[in-house]
Amino acid sequence: MRYLPLNDADRREMLAVVGASAIDDLFEDVPNEALNPEIDLPRRQGELQVERAFAGLASKNVPASSVPFFVGAGAYKHHVPATVDHIIQRSEFLTSYTPYQPEVAQGTLQYLFEFQSQVAALTGMDVANASMYDGSTATAEAALMARRVTKKSKVVLSGGLHPHYAAVTRTNSELVGDTVLRLGPDADGTQDLIGLIDDDTSCVVVQTPDIFGRVRDLAPIAEAAHAKGALLVAVVTEIVSLGALKSPGEMGADIVVGEGQSIGNALNFGGPYVGLFATRQKYVRQAPGRLCGETTDAEGQRGFVLTLSTREQHIRRDKATSNICTNSGLCCLAFTIHMSLLGEAGLKKLARLNHEAACRTYDAVAAVPGVEMLTDRFFNEFAVRLPKNAEGVVDALADRGVLAGVPGGRLWPDNPEMENVLLVAATETTTDDHIAALASALKEVL
C-alpha cells in the first residue's frame, strides 16, 4: 500500500525485536471476541481509480463559478488569488502541528500574530484570538464569554441574526442554564431590541449587515446594553463589508465575532471556514481559544509563542474558558495571506466593488414586476419578498442555469411568513451578464 513504508520483511524483523510472534500479540488487551471483526467495505484502490470516483461525484454538483451566482447568507463567492492556495499547500504550513514548540514553529506563530493584528484592526477591537471553528461557533462562544464576564444569564438574540448562528448559540447557552431570548426574523427591520435588554442580560447579539443584508447602526444598542451592564456582541458574516462600513468597535461593541471565509477561503460547501473572535483588552483573560504573543528568545531575538494558555483546556481542564483545541489554523493563513495581498487600499476597493455589484443587482431585481424590496441600506446582499414561494422560484431558476439566492424557507423552515423571502448576494465576481440573466429568468418565472 503506497502510504505504508513497512514491507513484510520489515514487519517480521520488527516483530522479532519486540518479542511478538504475530501482530495480534500486540492486540492482546482487545477482548478476543471483538478482535478483527469482519469489515464489509471495499478494498484498497489506486490513485487513478480514486480520482475517477471523486470526479464522478464532483460532476453531480454545480460549481458557483460555472453559473450566474447570487447565493450568500453567511458564505460568499469571492475570487481568491492563486498565490493564497499555493502558499497554504507548502509542506511546512500544511503538515505542521499546533505551534507548541515555538523554536521550530515561528512560521506558524508569526502568521498567527499577523492574523490577530489584522482581525483586531478590521473589527476595531484591541485584541483578536487565533480563530474559532467558524462564525457560528464563535458567536456561541461570545455568549458564553459574556456570561463569564457579566455573571448574568440572559442572552438576547436579534431577529436579524443568521438563524444557524442563533440555533448554535441557543444550543450552547441553554446547556449551561442560560435563558436565550431569540427574536423572530426581522425581515422588515422594525424590531425593538433595546426594549428587551434588562438587568439580567449578559449580552445582546446583533449581526450587521444582518441576515437580510441590512446595515445596522450598533451605537444605540451598545449604549443601551452598557447602561444595563450587558455586553454587545456584534456578528459579521461578510467580513469584506468592513472594508466599507464603520467597524463594530467604533460603534461600541464589546466582542466582535465573524466569519472569515470571504477572505482567502473557498466555499467548500460550508466548511472548513474560519471563525473570527475579537474583544477589548480588559476581557482578554476571559476569551476562548488560542492567543499568540510576542516575546524574545535566549539571544534576545524577537519571537512568538502561544500565550495566556492558563485559559485553555490543556492547562485548566474543567476550569478552561472553552474546550476548543484544534481551531482553523490553515484557514487563518489563507485569510492573512489574502488580506496582506489586498492591503487596506485593496480591501476598500474590493468592498466598493461588492457594493456596486449589489446595487446594480438590486436595481435590476427591483425592476422585475411583483418583487418587493425589503431594505434600501445594504452592503453586498439584500432581501426581497416575492409574490410566490421563493423555494420554488429558486428551483425554477436553477433549471434555467441561474443560482438566484437563498429562499426564506431554507433558513426558517418552520416559519410560513418567510416562505416568499429571497436573499440575493452579489460580489466582485458578479458580471452585468449575470445580473441580466437573473433579472430575465426572474421575470419569466414570476
Partner: protein, 527 residues
Amino acid sequence: MAMNDQGRPTRPTNIGANEKRTFTGNRALEIEEALIFEIGDAGRSGVDLDEPTGAPSRLGGLEREGEIGLPGLAEPEAMRHYVRLSQKNYAIDMGPFPLGSCTMKHNPRLNEKMARLPGFADIHPLQPEKTVQGALELIDTLAHWLKTLTGMPAVAMSPKAGAHGELCGMMAIKAALVARGEVETRKRVLVPESAHGTNPATAVQCGFTVDDIPATEDGRVDLEAFKAKLGPDVAGIMVTNPNTCGLFEREIREIADAVHEAGGYFYCDGANFNAIVCKARPGDLGVDAMHINLHKTFSTPHGGGGPGSGPTVLSEALAPFAPVPFVVFGPHGHHLAESRAEASEVVEGAQPFGRMTAFHGQMGMFVRALSHMMSHGSDGLRQASEDAVLNANYVQKRLSAEMTPAFPGFCMHEALFDDSFLDGTGVATIDFAKAMIDEGYHPMTMYFPLVVHGAMLIEPTETESKRELDLFCDALLSLAREAKAGGAVEKFAAAPVFAPRRRLDETAAARKPVLRYVEPAPAQAAE
C-alpha cells in the same frame, strides 16, 4: 540600528559564545523576516481590481472613515514573506513528528487535489439540493464508512474538531437525560485523571460536574474505584480508548456494563482510534458516543493547528438526539434534514438536540478523509493500524535500552516513557525534548498524560519507515547516554542551538501580553 530601517527584527543582544554573525542577520538559507506591518503599507497591493464606478453608496450613512491599519504587499513581497516564514517551521513532510495523541501521519496530496475539485470546493452550502447531489452523496458515503468501521448505527457529521465532537456526544447524552427526565438528577461525569484536557472542559461546557477516576498501577482505569463512584447522579463516563498512556482499556466491557447499569452513558474519546481501525469496533465494546478526529486517524492535514473534523458516532440510545443537519436518502435523491421538525418527519423518533454549527460540517475534510479511506480500503486500513502499533512497540522496545517505559508490556499506537532515566542527571524532560530539535526531530508530547512523571509520549504512526525509526531511536539513545554520562547539563539546557530561534521566554510573554502589532513610538522608529 541598520536592521530596523529594513523592518527587520531587533538583533541579538547577547550572542552565544561561538555564534557567527552576519550583517543581515540571515544565515545562508535561513532568512530573517519582519512583520507585514513592518514591510508593507496601506497603499500597496498585490491584487489588481477593476476601478469602481463611484456610484453613490447605499450604506445607510455608516461608511467607514479613516484608516483601518492594514498593510499591503505586492505579490512578490507576499510570496517571499510567507515562504520565508514557512521555512521556520518543522513539518511531517520533513521528518518524524512523534507527538503522542496527535497522530501526525503522512498527508497524501491526492486528498488535497480531490478536495480542490471545483465540484467540491466551489459549491455553496445553501445551493438548491439538486445542484449538490454529489456532495450529499459523498457525505452519506463517508458516514457509511464511519459507521461500518466503528460498528455504530449513527453518526453526526457536524462537529468541526475532536473537542466539538465531544460536545456533540455529551449534548446527546444530556438530551437523552432530558428525555428520561433525569437531567436535573444526573449531573456528575466520571473522567480518568489521564484524560485529555478537552474531556473535563467539555463536560463542564455541557453543564456537568467532573469527578476524577484514579488510574491503576498499569495505567488503566481503576475499575473498583470507578464502580465505587457510580450512582444515580452519574450522567456518564468519558474514557479514551486506547487511552492516553497508549494502552487498551482491557476492562472496557466491564466499564461499559457498569456505567449502563448505573443508568449512565459511555462517551469514548476516539482520538486514538488509529490504533484499532478494522481491529476492533467501539460498537462491540459498549460505547454510546465517540468522536473521530479525521485530522488524525484519516490523515487530513493538521495545518498548523486546524482545521479539523470530528464526526461523532452514536449508539441506538443516543442516535435519536443527533443534531441537525443530517443527510437522508429519499425518493428525490439525497436530502438534508435541517430543522428539528423536519428531522422528526423524515426519521421516525428523531428529536435532535439542536444545531452545532452553521451549514453542514467540514466538507473539505470529508473529501480528504474519504479519499484516504478509499485509497486504503478495509485491508489497507487494518494494515495501517497494525503498522502503527508495530512501529510504536518497536520504538518502545528499542528506546527501553536507555529510557524508562512508564508501564510494562506491549503498548498500542504510542509509547509512553517517564523521566526516571533522567533522575540525577540534571536534565529535565523539556531539556531532553529540546535537544531532539537540534537532531532534526520534533519533540514528543511532554508532561502528558499527567498520571506519569515527566511523561514523554511517542506516537510514530504507520507512515514512518523502519529506517527513519532506527535513526530516530539511535539519536534518542545517544542523547539519553549523553545525559546520563553527565557534564552535558548546559548543552541540554541551552538546546536548541540550530533552530531559527533559541528557547523563547514564555513567562515574559504571559506577564505583559503583546497580542498584536502596535506602531513603535516615533522615538524607537527613528532609532
